[in-house]
Symmetry: C2
Subunit: 219 residues, 2 copies
DNA sequence: TAATATTTTTAGATTTGTCTAAATTTATTT
DNA sequence: AAATAAATTTAGACAAATCTAAAAATATTA
């Protein structure tokens, strides 16, 4: 089924609100979407006829299986584009939301498939949120602060909590970015610095301060 | 000024039709946009009040300076996305038009600026059409068949005329793609093969057949 | 040039998504 | 439990973009 941009925005917002409360009410959704309660009621009637939500008047609503599948598809697109904007175009993670909101409505499945491959099939977006897979499954992945990483197995950089120019300068110098593969070689107890290997680069040493701002996950 | 997707599509189509005939007429544009003459008239009144076209009823219309600037902005977005889809996502050039038609309406200037840099500020899209610069200037660039390239100066790959899996397999093997920088090192008269250097790779030799399908330009 | 054909525009309707204001239903309070 | 408050829905309107059918203007042809 093909959805309009507006329908997609409603579906996505309902999904997010459902993470907090099982049933969603009209006013809450209206606030979330910067619209009026009457508009929400109108749209929900439409979504009901399209069999995307369970909705009884005056009783709130929620996505059904169909609607949830659609929501995850939209969220997948949104998070892949966010990853792209940060890992490839050098946006900072707090700048990408609005742009991804537009890109997420471009609906070519082939495009998303290729974008996913191009990004290395990432599991987590730059805000640290999981990216649903093609089948709408959300990976359960533990993000680990690089400083707390004890084993020597390769890990993928999922997010960076400090976005200051100074930090970004350092990350650039080390060749570390969202999606980078890295591995700890050893830890130096003296100043808690870490010797790491990033992708195929020569090993380097990063300070405790830098390590504490980098989050990684294992596949 | 902010334009709707529909307005942008009209502006873009008028631009393209103006390349053929100075004045555009209602029916021609209706055919181009798969719509009806009455709809075109309606939209042209709107574009006139927005001061994007010169339009007198029954006499045809054309973009004014304002409208032309907008058209080039949209075409810039379209062609940059096409370049991205081919050079980064491995689409073939005959598959990208419809997707770029959607992406071109995402209007963040910052996005386009960064996309442009990321692609290496390309001057030509994968169909061989010039990409307008930020100021709407169209580069005048001569595309040269790699086989006809005589000098040894570096050139940029702009398009590949043969999109067969066999050809793509070879290009992949040589590491040649849209946007690749390459340089002829020498030509072998015996079989007309060429020794070339692609980006920072080790030199390699390509056959006359391959060379004849690759188009390049000088900056 | 008068008749006919084509093109373009207007008039009025439709769809989508939105709104305001009023009515209805549910929830809360005294 | 009655009165009041809050949330939700309905009714009716509006803007954008489209359409059909009819009218008006322009172009072509006999």
């Amino acid at each position: 089924m093909n959805l309009t941009t507006s329908e997609e925005n409603y579906i996505k917002s309902i999904y997010h609100l459902q993470l907090v409360s099982h049933l969603v009410n009209t006013n809450t959704l209206a606030r979330e979407l910067n619209t009026k309660a009457a508009s929400v009621t109108d749209m929900l009637k439409k979504l009901k006829t399209k069999k995307l939500v369970k909705y009884e008047r005056y009783y709130g609503f929620k996505l059904n299986e169909n609607g949830t599948r659609m929501a995850l598809r939209i969220i997948r697109r949104h998070r892949l584009w966010e990853h792209f904007l940060v890992s490839k175009l050098n946006f900072q993670w707090d700048e990408v939301h609005a742009i991804a909101e537009e890109l997420e409505h471009v609906s070519s499945p082939e495009l998303i498939k290729k974008l996913d491959s191009y990004l290395g099939k990432p599991k987590i977006d730059p805000h640290g949120d999981p990216i649903p897979d093609v089948d709408g499954k959300l990976p359960v992945i533990k993000q680990i602060n690089l400083f707390d990483l004890v084993n020597l197995k390769p890990a993928t950089v999922s997010s960076v909590s400090n976005q200051s120019p100074q930090m970004l300068e350092m990350l650039k110098h080390y060749g570390i970015g969202i999606g980078s593969q890295l591995k700890i070689i050893r830890a130096f107890p003296f100043d808690h610095s870490l010797e790491i290997k990033v992708s195929k680069q020569a090993p380097c040493i990063i300070s405790e301060q830098v390590a504490k701002n980098i989050f990684v996950y294992h596949d």
